[in-house]
């Protein structure tokens, strides 16, 4: 793909998410779509993190733990320390990144299914920790979290106070999509810089990587902490929207879904997790009409998709001779 066609693609995407979608929603009056699309944007950020751990050759089924941790960090800071939400957003990410360094140092030595099993347990550990710790207020959770406050620099309002807005749903949608765009731009940059090449070298052969002088342990932890940072901010933003968080806000099923999003979209494509999330989320909703057969049809479709397109939906582009 040439530079110009990439540029056109990105511009078209930005115009459609920031202008066309809000316009279409206003025209059709389907305001509930805002909540759905906001969720997709945030879930795709968490999935992007999982995708990055796939990129270093690790199956990560523990992103829910970081989403939960990030959500609680933001909730606690906003309700108990009176922080502005927009400040807690990066703090939640950093907290999760730091936490993942501590957790990752020992567990990233594991490979394959062993790593996957440990991460699977992480989500459950996070839930139990949230139930037990005093600061998270147990099963009651933290509720009535105020809407995000104003951000201004030198008297210039960058982000208005959400409580004063006539349409906070639109504002949340715009902020979530903006966050998603930033995260995927960063991910794109990582993958296409030397950092990404080194991650790929890890994925393909860790021994050879070490023998060409790559500090594999360090690189694994870096990638994992970036992944967890994404999980943390996605979780924090979710909490701001729902204005509440419980130990069950992110569960093992969510962790599994983050992973499925990556599989479905395509592990070889940066924008795989975004597409995967959109399709899985809408696919589930569309099947709502089938009632009690919803899960059966949904799972069968997933299995079929993975059989037919093992490299994800975006691999269809490659078949036609295009690229990424």
């Amino acid at each position: 793909m040439t530079r110009t066609s990439k540029l056109i693609g990105v511009t078209a995407f930005l115009i459609s998410v920031f202008i066309i979608v809000p316009w279409a929603i206003a025209a059709s009056g389907r305001w509930d779509f805002y909540y759905t699309l906001t969720s997709v944007a945030l879930l795709s950020i968490a999935s992007a993190g999982v995708w990055l751990t796939f990129y270093i050759g690790r199956i990560n089924i523990g992103q829910g733990a970081y989403a939960l941790a990030g959500g609680y960090v933001s909730a606690v800071l906003v309700t108990q320390a009176g922080f502005n939400f927009w400040l807690t957003l990066p703090l939640a990410g950093l907290f999760c990144a730091g936490l993942s360094v501590l957790i990752g140092l020992p567990i990233l030595r594991l490979r394959g299914v062993y790593f996957a099993m440990v991460t699977l347990v992480l989500t459950e550990v996070a839930r139990l920790a949230a139930l037990a710790l005093p600061v998270t207020q147990g099963a009651k959770g933290i509720t009535s979290i105020p809407l995000p406050g104003e951000v201004s620099v030198l008297g210039l309002t960058l982000i208005p106070d959400f409580a004063t807005l006539a349409n906070p749903k639109l504002a949340f949608y715009l902020m979530a999509v903006l966050l998603m765009v930033i995260c995927f731009a960063a991910l794109w940059r990582i993958v296409n810089s030397r950092l990404g090449h080194l991650c790929r070298s890890l994925q393909q052969n860790e021994e050879l990587s070490a023998s060409i002088g790559v500090n594999t342990a360090y690189l694994r932890v870096i990638a994992y902490s970036i992944s967890s940072f994404f999980g943390g901010i996605a979780g924090a933003m979710f909490v701001a929207i729902s204005q509440s968080i419980y130990p069950s806000s992110f569960q093992v099923a969510d962790s599994v879904n983050f992973m499925l999003n990556c599989f479905l979209g395509g592990l070889g494509y940066v924008f795989g997790p975004m597409l995967g999330t959109l399709l899985l989320y809408f696919g589930w909703d569309l099947l709502f009409a089938t009632g009690r057969y919803q899960l059966l049809i949904y799972s069968s479709l997933l299995i079929a998709l993975m059989l037919v397109l093992p490299n994800g939906i975006l691999s269809l582009l490659d078949r036609k001779g295009g690229r990424k």
Binding site: R189, I190, R194, Q204, N205, E207, L208, A210, S211, N215
Partner: protein
């Protein structure tokens, strides 16, 4: 002149099995030295110990006087002792050129963050890696397959690629693990020529483990023979060919096996 590599009383035990027992020899700078021995003699273990992919049970390996045994493998590589692999280990889903470019990691001056941000240093590094990769491709005569995915390459080319990856790290000492395995006579002779040029044109000291005796006899300045984890002989190809112990170790196999 002090040796570039000193292997001093190196011993490696796996539980009750002694894979290497008290092995000592020196490698001079610019030398091509082969380690030979029957299957299971402990040659590959010795290589892993030198490149520090395994920890020694006792003894030490020194590179230019500095102890390198039991350091992290990437640190040893960083000092200039680089190992290539027995089973044509490469990055399978990258092209030949990408493989070589990635292997330039050690030479990068910019940090990972620098590469992320695309700083001037990072861009200079990328350009330098590309140039150097093309040099290596030309050196090894891989121009025709530079854009090919590594997983599509035949054996002989894989071996050359694995050497190219080693070269990209700008090694002082290159450890080649069975570089001639599975090659026919012509391919072997080409590879022998390449290894020679590696030493003559790039000044790389080469250590190799190999079974192909005619090639070993042709290429080596000196040979170290290992049997049952013990070093049983050390000397020039001519000395090794007439060494009683070596002949005994290879007894049962054809005489041709040690190139006689």
């Amino acid at each position: 002149m002090t040796p570039i590599l000193e292997i001093k009383c190196v011993t490696k035990r796996f539980g009750g099995l002694v894979a290497n027992s008290n092995i000592s020899f020196d490698v001079a700078e610019g030398e091509i030295l082969s380690v030979i021995g029957p299957n299971g003699a402990g040659k590959s273990t010795l290589f892993k110990l030198i490149a520090s992919f395994l920890r020694t049970t006792s003894g030490e390996v020194r590179f230019r006087g500095q102890v390198i045994s039991n350091l992290a493998p990437h640190k040893v590589a960083r000092m200039g002792v680089v190992r290539t692999f027995q089973e044509t280990t490469i990055f399978r889903s990258m092209t030949v050129r990408e493989n070589i470019i990635v292997a330039h990691h050690l030479r990068s001056k910019a940090s990972l963050l620098g590469f992320f941000l695309g700083t001037r240093q990072a861009r200079a590094d990328e350009a330098a890696f590309g140039g150097s990769a093309d040099d290596i491709i030309a050196f090894l005569g891989l121009e025709a397959i530079a854009g090919e995915l590594a997983s599509n390459l035949p054996q002989g080319h894989l071996r050359a690629l694995s050497m190219a990856i080693g070269l990209a790290t700008d090694p002082k000492v290159l450890l080649l693990d069975e570089p001639f395995a599975g090659m026919n006579h012509d391919e072997t002779m080409r590879m022998v020529g390449l290894v020679r040029r590696l030493r003559d044109e790039r000044g790389v000291t080469v250590l190799l483990v190999e079974h192909d005796m005619p090639a070993v006899m042709k290429i080596s300045d000196r040979i170290v023979v290992i049997n049952f984890g013990q070093m049983i002989a050390e000397g020039t190809p001519a000395e090794i060919q007439s060494n009683e112990k070596v002949i005994e170790a290879y007894l049962g196999s054809e005489d041709a096996a040690i190139g006689m």
